[in-house]
Symmetry: C2
Subunit: 352 residues, 2 copies
């Protein structure tokens, strides 16, 4: 039998709602911080064993239904020849921002055996160590969000240089996104081949775009990645934030499951994404910094809005904040499991 | 006769659509940069004459229908005793973030004669210099957005400390917002008394909140400011970004006109804000960095979606980006004026 998350992504009736957390591996966990005392971030990234270990830590601790690969969103572009530095407190910084045809031309196909080797190998380790009912979720940045980093040269709030390139040099823009999309297809398929049961496409900053700009400049390239995965039979989760008005057009671009942020109540977001999709989400990660009573009532609200319909995967609306108490994540997992198992029990009791 | 913008804000039929731009005064203008070569930002803020001059510059250059006061969002909290430093490339930085009852208690009523004196005096100068058909738009940060700066201590993307305070110490949070709201009522009413024809409440970062959190933690305090202005007969514009899912609840909190960002097509945003409101917006300011043909078609799309209905004020979806060519702003003004005057002419021609 396929892992719970995969069956939920196909909107099959499941025994309970699967639960995992974006950015569950990493700084919120003391066992991760212990590893980082001895190894740099890049040490972890370059070692299949350390990557697998860090990826498995939250599964062991919280019992979540998926292990999401601990990888950086810039890993595939490093494999395409871009110089990226991760600056503490800033984020990914690009030595030479990509803003010209020449810079786009220099992006090569990702080399799966060099930079990507450790991630792909780590996927194999995680898949072997994980029990079959748990899923390995592969991770790939979406062409727009990664292009935003490449064009701006660093994290941005407004993405003004990115939009200027779109408007002023649409051919350069589309050439850049095409090259990224083709590279990401290879990367994502390689993850599936290595053992990932599903792949999440992260379009974290897509919410800065109007729906019209999304359709013109982004949709075809996200669709290229999502379509390639669908044709290979790999379930996909398509995630963005600040995206309530984009949900319809993002769903058109693809995704078996649409990732929702907390800005829209889950039932309303599901209606916009379409009844033919699953949805993942959507508790505000900041709620987990507050008292348990609030976490509990917010989680129950998410579950009530999902209404036990097949296709819901419980998650936060964005990544776990580093200050989050891991015990709260564990309790939240238990709550989702207990509540949704009971729901199904009652539902089948009623049906019998 | 009242200024065009004021009549539009009341949804009266007007001879053409008023147009102005958020952050129209400032860094996009060479005449502003010339002043800043001789005077620091704080010099400008402390001088009524310089503030008035900088406020009037875009009206002279572009012929916009409103002069929006050149003031900093933190001005009223400086007047309430908070130490704020404006750090180049960062934004407002607070020496001692406000996170406790004691810190809230230390916030005093704003002193209109000291810190606020120059802004209020500048409003009088601008009102006297401006022709009567043009409006002076007063400017006030909304309690949530200003509280976000005070709690975080600096600009933030996630507002995690702000939300943690809301959830963990709701009494401290509400005391803080009450004190800010009361101070802002005084500040906004003083602006109206000094000659402002309308006041815009800027809730720039409110889009980080879920609708439920907005209703619980923010709505009552924005409503307090907007209600006081309504009771004083001052037209209000209520602006946020990233706010498509909040438009309904923000409109309930108040505002004759709801400010829309570019993430939602204007007609859809107007439907969410309610037919009993005007709307302001909503061209993506980044579009102005691109070629004129794109600016033109995007502006025509905004106007088409407004459909000439009374209550539309043309603006961007957020502030002018510093890199914007002022000539593009001028051409855009002309376009809106010519297009909407023609529309009205045709409409009355048809009716005759």
């Amino acid at each position: 039998m396929d892992p719970l998350l995969v069956r939920a992504a196909r909107r099959e009736p499941v025994e309970r709602t699967p639960v995992w957390f974006m950015r569950q591996a990493g700084r919120s966990l003391p066992e991760y911080r212990a590893i980082r005392e001895r190894h740099s971030f890049f040490d972890v990234n370059r070692s299949a064993e350390l990557t697998a270990e860090v990826t498995l830590q939250p599964v062991r601790r919280h019992g979540v239904d998926a292990a999401v690969m601990f990888a950086d969103i810039m890993t595939p572009v490093v494999a395409m020849g871009v110089g990226v530095e991760l600056v503490e407190g800033v984020g990914p910084v690009i030595a030479e921002p990509v803003r010209t045809s020449a810079a786009v031309e220099r992006l090569r196909s990702p080399d799966p055996h060099e930079t990507l080797g450790p991630v792909l190998e780590a996927i194999g380790i995680v898949r072997r160590e994980l029990s079959p009912e748990r899923a390995v979720v592969g991770f790939c940045g979406a062409p727009f969000t990664v292009a935003g980093y490449l064009v701006e040269g660093k994290p941005s709030r407004e993405f003004a240089a990115t939009k200027r390139l779109m408007y002023d040099e649409p051919r350069v823009w589309h050439a850049l996104l095409e090259r990224l999309a083709d590279g990401f297809v290879e990367y994502a398929l390689a993850q599936a081949q290595a053992g990932a049961d599903a792949v999440q496409l992260f379009d974290s900053w897509v919410g800065v775009l109007s729906p019209a700009d999304y359709c013109e400049f982004v949709a075809p390239w996200s669709a290229r990645v999502l379509t390639a995965l669908r044709e290979a039979g790999v379930p996909t989760i398509h995630f963005g934030t600040g995206n309530a008005t984009l949900l319809g057009v993002m769903a058109e671009a693809g995704g078996d499951v649409m990732g929702l942020d907390w800005r829209i109540p889950l039932d309303e977001g599901w209606a916009l994404a379409g009844a033919d999709r699953g949805v993942q989400g959507n508790l505000d990660p900041a709620v987990l910094l507050g008292p348990w009573e609030r976490v509990e009532s917010a989680a129950r609200d998410v579950l009530a809005r999902a209404g036990g319909r097949p296709g819901h995967i419980f998650n936060l609306g964005h990544g776990v904040l580093p200050a989050t108490d891991p015990d709260v994540l564990g309790r939240l997992c238990e709550l989702v499991r207990a509540e949704t198992a009971r729901e199904r029990f009652h539902a089948s009791g009623t049906a019998a």
